[in-house]
Protein backbone atom coordinates (compact mmCIF):
# COMPACT_ATOMS: atom_id res chain seq x y z
CA UNK A 1 0.00 0.00 0.00
CA UNK A 2 1.29 3.38 -1.10
CA UNK A 3 -0.18 5.48 1.70
CA UNK A 4 -0.45 4.82 5.41
CA UNK A 5 -3.99 4.65 6.76
CA UNK A 6 -3.02 6.26 10.08
CA UNK A 7 -1.44 9.24 8.31
CA UNK A 8 -4.70 9.66 6.37
CA UNK A 9 -6.64 9.64 9.64
CA UNK A 10 -4.22 12.10 11.22
CA UNK A 11 -4.58 14.50 8.24
CA UNK A 12 -8.40 14.22 8.32
CA UNK A 13 -8.64 14.76 12.06
CA UNK A 14 -6.03 17.54 12.15
CA UNK A 15 -7.57 19.62 9.34
CA UNK A 16 -11.10 19.14 10.67
CA UNK A 17 -10.14 20.10 14.22
CA UNK A 18 -8.21 23.22 13.17
CA UNK A 19 -11.18 24.42 11.08
CA UNK A 20 -13.36 24.22 14.19
CA UNK A 21 -10.84 25.45 16.72
CA UNK A 22 -9.15 28.49 15.14
CA UNK A 23 -12.26 30.70 14.78
CA UNK A 24 -13.44 29.89 18.32
CA UNK A 25 -10.03 30.65 19.78
CA UNK A 26 -9.12 33.69 17.72
CA UNK A 27 -12.26 35.44 16.56
CA UNK A 28 -13.42 38.49 18.43
CA UNK A 29 -15.60 39.90 15.65
CA UNK A 30 -18.02 38.59 13.06
CA UNK A 31 -17.24 37.72 9.46
CA UNK A 32 -18.55 40.59 7.31
CA UNK A 33 -17.27 40.14 3.74
CA UNK A 34 -20.30 39.22 1.65
CA UNK A 35 -18.40 37.41 -1.10
CA UNK A 36 -16.50 35.25 1.40
CA UNK A 37 -19.68 34.43 3.30
CA UNK A 38 -21.49 33.49 0.07
CA UNK A 39 -18.57 31.44 -1.17
CA UNK A 40 -18.41 29.47 2.09
CA UNK A 41 -22.18 29.02 2.01
CA UNK A 42 -22.27 27.45 -1.49
CA UNK A 43 -19.11 25.39 -1.17
CA UNK A 44 -20.44 22.27 0.64
CA UNK A 45 -23.28 21.88 -1.89
CA UNK A 46 -20.94 22.11 -4.88
CA UNK A 47 -18.51 19.69 -3.24
CA UNK A 48 -21.06 17.02 -2.29
CA UNK A 49 -22.68 17.25 -5.74
CA UNK A 50 -19.32 16.81 -7.49
CA UNK A 51 -18.51 13.86 -5.20
CA UNK A 52 -21.84 12.17 -5.97
CA UNK A 53 -21.85 12.43 -9.73
CA UNK A 54 -20.44 10.69 -11.75
CA UNK A 55 -18.85 8.52 -8.97
CA UNK A 56 -22.25 6.99 -8.09
CA UNK A 57 -22.44 5.40 -11.57
CA UNK A 58 -19.45 3.13 -10.90
CA UNK A 59 -20.25 2.34 -7.26
CA UNK A 60 -22.21 -0.88 -7.81
CA UNK A 61 -21.88 -4.12 -9.77
CA UNK A 62 -23.39 -2.59 -12.95
CA UNK A 63 -23.99 0.93 -14.28
CA UNK A 64 -27.66 0.10 -14.83
CA UNK A 65 -28.33 -0.79 -11.20
CA UNK A 66 -26.42 2.35 -10.15
CA UNK A 67 -28.63 4.53 -12.37
CA UNK A 68 -31.73 3.00 -10.77
CA UNK A 69 -30.26 3.64 -7.30
CA UNK A 70 -29.43 7.23 -8.28
CA UNK A 71 -32.97 7.93 -9.51
CA UNK A 72 -34.56 6.38 -6.40
CA UNK A 73 -32.24 8.41 -4.14
CA UNK A 74 -33.07 11.62 -6.02
CA UNK A 75 -36.81 11.04 -5.62
CA UNK A 76 -36.51 10.12 -1.91
CA UNK A 77 -34.26 13.11 -1.21
CA UNK A 78 -36.67 15.39 -3.09
CA UNK A 79 -39.44 14.16 -0.79
CA UNK A 80 -37.21 15.15 2.14
CA UNK A 81 -36.82 11.70 3.66
CA UNK A 82 -34.15 11.36 6.37
CA UNK A 83 -30.50 10.62 5.50
CA UNK A 84 -30.83 6.99 6.54
CA UNK A 85 -34.11 6.44 4.66
CA UNK A 86 -32.73 7.86 1.41
CA UNK A 87 -29.58 5.75 1.74
CA UNK A 88 -31.52 2.55 2.49
CA UNK A 89 -34.04 3.08 -0.33
CA UNK A 90 -31.18 3.58 -2.80
CA UNK A 91 -29.51 0.38 -1.55
CA UNK A 92 -32.77 -1.53 -1.78
CA UNK A 93 -33.33 -0.33 -5.37
CA UNK A 94 -29.82 -1.46 -6.34
CA UNK A 95 -30.28 -4.81 -4.59
CA UNK A 96 -33.60 -5.54 -6.30
CA UNK A 97 -32.30 -4.42 -9.71
CA UNK A 98 -29.25 -6.68 -9.41
CA UNK A 99 -31.39 -9.65 -8.32
CA UNK A 100 -33.67 -9.11 -11.34
CA UNK A 101 -30.69 -8.91 -13.68
CA UNK A 102 -29.38 -12.23 -12.31
CA UNK A 103 -32.80 -13.88 -12.73
CA UNK A 104 -33.19 -12.58 -16.29
CA UNK A 105 -29.65 -13.64 -17.12
Amino acid sequence: MKYNIYVYILVMAGVTYLIRMLPLLLSKKELTNRFVKSFLYYMPYACLAAMTFPAILSSTASTFSAVIGFIVALIAAYREKSLLTVALLACLAVFITEQCMILLG
Binding site: M12, E30, C47, C91, F95
Partner: protein
Amino acid sequence: MNTESFKKGLKDGIPVALGYFAVSFTFGIASILGGLTTWQAVLISITNVTSAGQFAGLSIIAAGGSYLEMALTQLIINLRYSLMSFSLAQKLEPQVSWYHRCLMSYGVTDEIFGLSAAKEGKISPFYNYGCMCIAIPGWVMGTLIGAISGNILPDIVLSALNVAIYGMFLAIIIPPAKKNLTILAVVASAMIISGLFRITPLLSKISSGFVIIIVTLLVSCVAALLRPIEDEK
Protein backbone atom coordinates in the same frame (compact mmCIF):
# COMPACT_ATOMS: atom_id res chain seq x y z
CA MET B 1 -18.45 23.77 36.59
CA ASN B 2 -22.00 24.68 35.66
CA THR B 3 -24.04 21.55 36.51
CA GLU B 4 -27.36 22.90 35.34
CA SER B 5 -26.14 23.74 31.82
CA PHE B 6 -24.37 20.39 31.65
CA LYS B 7 -27.54 18.45 32.53
CA LYS B 8 -29.58 20.46 30.03
CA GLY B 9 -27.00 19.62 27.37
CA LEU B 10 -27.15 15.92 28.21
CA LYS B 11 -30.92 15.94 27.81
CA ASP B 12 -30.93 17.90 24.54
CA GLY B 13 -28.19 15.61 23.21
CA ILE B 14 -30.33 12.43 23.34
CA PRO B 15 -32.20 12.90 20.02
CA VAL B 16 -28.93 13.97 18.41
CA ALA B 17 -27.29 10.75 19.64
CA LEU B 18 -30.07 8.63 18.10
CA GLY B 19 -29.77 10.41 14.75
CA TYR B 20 -25.98 10.05 14.86
CA PHE B 21 -26.22 6.34 15.60
CA ALA B 22 -28.20 5.72 12.40
CA VAL B 23 -25.85 7.74 10.18
CA SER B 24 -22.61 6.42 11.66
CA PHE B 25 -23.93 2.87 11.37
CA THR B 26 -23.84 3.44 7.59
CA PHE B 27 -20.35 4.89 7.94
CA GLY B 28 -19.21 1.75 9.80
CA ILE B 29 -20.46 -0.49 7.00
CA ALA B 30 -18.98 1.77 4.31
CA SER B 31 -15.59 1.68 6.06
CA ILE B 32 -15.46 -2.10 5.92
CA LEU B 33 -16.41 -1.97 2.21
CA GLY B 34 -13.62 0.56 1.70
CA GLY B 35 -11.10 -1.90 3.14
CA LEU B 36 -10.67 -0.50 6.65
CA THR B 37 -10.67 -2.51 9.86
CA THR B 38 -13.32 -2.05 12.57
CA TRP B 39 -10.78 -0.33 14.81
CA GLN B 40 -9.76 2.12 12.06
CA ALA B 41 -13.42 3.01 11.37
CA VAL B 42 -14.00 3.68 15.08
CA LEU B 43 -10.79 5.72 15.30
CA ILE B 44 -11.97 7.95 12.42
CA SER B 45 -15.31 8.53 14.15
CA ILE B 46 -13.66 9.37 17.49
CA THR B 47 -11.21 11.82 15.95
CA ASN B 48 -13.43 13.47 13.29
CA VAL B 49 -17.08 13.50 14.46
CA THR B 50 -18.43 14.67 11.08
CA SER B 51 -20.55 12.78 8.57
CA ALA B 52 -19.86 14.24 5.12
CA GLY B 53 -16.15 14.76 5.90
CA GLN B 54 -15.69 11.17 7.06
CA PHE B 55 -17.45 9.72 4.03
CA ALA B 56 -15.41 11.94 1.75
CA GLY B 57 -12.22 10.90 3.55
CA LEU B 58 -13.19 7.28 3.19
CA SER B 59 -13.63 7.56 -0.57
CA ILE B 60 -10.17 9.16 -0.83
CA ILE B 61 -8.61 6.36 1.26
CA ALA B 62 -10.38 3.74 -0.89
CA ALA B 63 -9.18 5.42 -4.11
CA GLY B 64 -5.60 5.77 -2.79
CA GLY B 65 -5.64 9.59 -3.13
CA SER B 66 -2.73 11.74 -1.95
CA TYR B 67 -2.46 13.34 1.51
CA LEU B 68 -2.81 16.75 -0.15
CA GLU B 69 -6.12 15.71 -1.74
CA MET B 70 -7.23 14.49 1.66
CA ALA B 71 -6.34 17.76 3.38
CA LEU B 72 -7.94 19.97 0.71
CA THR B 73 -11.11 17.91 0.55
CA GLN B 74 -11.52 18.00 4.33
CA LEU B 75 -10.93 21.73 4.24
CA ILE B 76 -13.63 22.27 1.61
CA ILE B 77 -16.26 19.94 3.04
CA ASN B 78 -15.77 21.05 6.63
CA LEU B 79 -15.19 24.75 6.11
CA ARG B 80 -18.75 25.41 7.18
CA TYR B 81 -17.67 24.50 10.73
CA SER B 82 -15.45 27.57 10.80
CA LEU B 83 -18.57 29.68 10.19
CA MET B 84 -20.32 27.91 13.06
CA SER B 85 -17.31 28.44 15.29
CA PHE B 86 -17.27 32.14 14.34
CA SER B 87 -20.91 32.38 15.27
CA LEU B 88 -20.45 30.36 18.48
CA ALA B 89 -17.59 32.65 19.49
CA GLN B 90 -20.10 35.53 19.48
CA LYS B 91 -22.25 33.68 22.00
CA LEU B 92 -19.47 33.13 24.53
CA GLU B 93 -18.58 35.57 27.30
CA PRO B 94 -15.23 37.14 26.32
CA GLN B 95 -13.58 35.83 29.52
CA VAL B 96 -14.24 32.16 28.63
CA SER B 97 -10.74 30.71 28.69
CA TRP B 98 -8.74 29.21 25.82
CA TYR B 99 -8.98 25.62 27.09
CA HIS B 100 -12.78 25.76 27.11
CA ARG B 101 -12.67 27.14 23.57
CA CYS B 102 -10.29 24.35 22.44
CA LEU B 103 -12.39 21.63 24.08
CA MET B 104 -15.72 22.94 22.72
CA SER B 105 -14.25 23.03 19.20
CA TYR B 106 -14.02 19.24 19.14
CA GLY B 107 -17.84 19.08 19.27
CA VAL B 108 -18.78 21.71 16.69
CA THR B 109 -21.11 19.69 14.44
CA ASP B 110 -24.21 20.81 12.51
CA GLU B 111 -26.53 19.44 15.17
CA ILE B 112 -24.69 20.48 18.35
CA PHE B 113 -24.11 23.92 16.88
CA GLY B 114 -27.80 24.06 15.98
CA LEU B 115 -28.76 23.35 19.59
CA SER B 116 -26.44 25.95 21.10
CA ALA B 117 -27.21 28.57 18.42
CA ALA B 118 -30.93 28.20 19.17
CA LYS B 119 -30.41 29.25 22.82
CA GLU B 120 -31.19 32.83 23.84
CA GLY B 121 -28.30 35.03 24.90
CA LYS B 122 -24.86 33.85 25.99
CA ILE B 123 -24.07 30.14 26.30
CA SER B 124 -21.97 28.18 28.78
CA PRO B 125 -19.35 25.74 27.42
CA PHE B 126 -20.83 23.19 29.84
CA TYR B 127 -24.04 23.08 27.80
CA ASN B 128 -21.96 21.99 24.79
CA TYR B 129 -20.05 19.48 26.95
CA GLY B 130 -23.38 17.94 27.97
CA CYS B 131 -24.48 17.56 24.32
CA MET B 132 -21.09 16.16 23.38
CA CYS B 133 -21.07 13.60 26.24
CA ILE B 134 -24.22 11.97 24.92
CA ALA B 135 -24.07 12.63 21.14
CA ILE B 136 -20.45 11.62 20.46
CA PRO B 137 -20.77 8.18 22.13
CA GLY B 138 -23.85 7.66 19.88
CA TRP B 139 -21.70 8.49 16.86
CA VAL B 140 -18.90 6.12 17.90
CA MET B 141 -21.19 3.22 18.90
CA GLY B 142 -23.06 3.45 15.58
CA THR B 143 -19.76 3.18 13.73
CA LEU B 144 -18.67 0.18 15.80
CA ILE B 145 -21.90 -1.75 15.28
CA GLY B 146 -22.03 -0.79 11.58
CA ALA B 147 -18.47 -2.04 11.08
CA ILE B 148 -19.26 -5.34 12.83
CA SER B 149 -22.34 -5.76 10.57
CA GLY B 150 -20.20 -4.96 7.52
CA ASN B 151 -17.99 -7.90 8.43
CA ILE B 152 -20.82 -10.44 8.71
CA LEU B 153 -23.30 -9.44 5.95
CA PRO B 154 -23.16 -11.43 2.65
CA ASP B 155 -21.48 -9.94 -0.47
CA ILE B 156 -24.67 -9.43 -2.48
CA VAL B 157 -26.05 -7.17 0.27
CA LEU B 158 -22.75 -5.30 0.61
CA SER B 159 -22.62 -4.54 -3.14
CA ALA B 160 -25.96 -2.75 -2.85
CA LEU B 161 -24.79 -0.88 0.27
CA ASN B 162 -22.01 0.79 -1.76
CA VAL B 163 -24.59 3.26 -3.05
CA ALA B 164 -25.50 4.35 0.51
CA ILE B 165 -22.89 7.12 0.73
CA TYR B 166 -24.24 8.82 -2.37
CA GLY B 167 -27.81 8.45 -1.16
CA MET B 168 -26.78 10.33 1.97
CA PHE B 169 -25.04 13.06 0.02
CA LEU B 170 -28.20 13.55 -2.06
CA ALA B 171 -30.32 13.64 1.10
CA ILE B 172 -28.12 16.50 2.34
CA ILE B 173 -28.08 18.61 -0.85
CA ILE B 174 -31.46 18.05 -2.53
CA PRO B 175 -33.87 19.46 0.13
CA PRO B 176 -32.11 22.89 0.29
CA ALA B 177 -31.90 22.87 -3.55
CA LYS B 178 -35.71 22.60 -3.67
CA LYS B 179 -36.09 25.83 -1.72
CA ASN B 180 -33.23 27.84 -3.22
CA LEU B 181 -32.76 28.09 -6.99
CA THR B 182 -29.12 29.13 -6.69
CA ILE B 183 -28.30 26.01 -4.66
CA LEU B 184 -30.13 23.98 -7.32
CA ALA B 185 -27.99 25.60 -10.02
CA VAL B 186 -24.85 24.98 -7.94
CA VAL B 187 -25.72 21.29 -7.46
CA ALA B 188 -26.68 20.71 -11.11
CA SER B 189 -23.69 22.50 -12.60
CA ALA B 190 -21.24 20.81 -10.19
CA MET B 191 -22.59 17.40 -11.31
CA ILE B 192 -22.51 18.30 -15.01
CA ILE B 193 -19.00 19.77 -14.91
CA SER B 194 -17.54 16.84 -12.95
CA GLY B 195 -19.29 14.52 -15.42
CA LEU B 196 -17.63 16.40 -18.30
CA PHE B 197 -14.22 15.96 -16.64
CA ARG B 198 -14.80 12.21 -16.60
CA ILE B 199 -15.63 11.88 -20.32
CA THR B 200 -13.35 14.54 -21.85
CA PRO B 201 -10.04 13.13 -23.20
CA LEU B 202 -7.01 14.43 -21.27
CA LEU B 203 -9.15 15.95 -18.49
CA SER B 204 -10.21 12.41 -17.55
CA LYS B 205 -6.58 11.76 -16.50
CA ILE B 206 -6.93 14.14 -13.54
CA SER B 207 -7.56 12.21 -10.31
CA SER B 208 -11.15 12.34 -9.08
CA GLY B 209 -10.14 14.07 -5.83
CA PHE B 210 -8.68 17.05 -7.68
CA VAL B 211 -11.63 17.20 -10.07
CA ILE B 212 -13.89 17.59 -7.02
CA ILE B 213 -11.72 20.39 -5.64
CA ILE B 214 -11.52 22.26 -8.98
CA VAL B 215 -15.27 21.94 -9.62
CA THR B 216 -16.14 23.01 -6.06
CA LEU B 217 -13.97 26.14 -6.13
CA LEU B 218 -15.14 27.11 -9.63
CA VAL B 219 -18.86 26.62 -9.07
CA SER B 220 -19.05 28.21 -5.61
CA CYS B 221 -16.94 31.17 -6.73
CA VAL B 222 -19.26 31.84 -9.70
CA ALA B 223 -22.34 31.40 -7.48
CA ALA B 224 -20.96 33.81 -4.85
CA LEU B 225 -20.25 36.42 -7.55
CA LEU B 226 -23.59 36.11 -9.33
CA ARG B 227 -25.84 35.45 -6.35
CA PRO B 228 -24.31 36.65 -3.07
CA ILE B 229 -26.38 35.58 -0.06
CA GLU B 230 -28.61 38.09 1.70
CA ASP B 231 -27.49 39.43 5.05
CA GLU B 232 -29.54 37.88 7.81
CA LYS B 233 -29.94 41.09 9.79
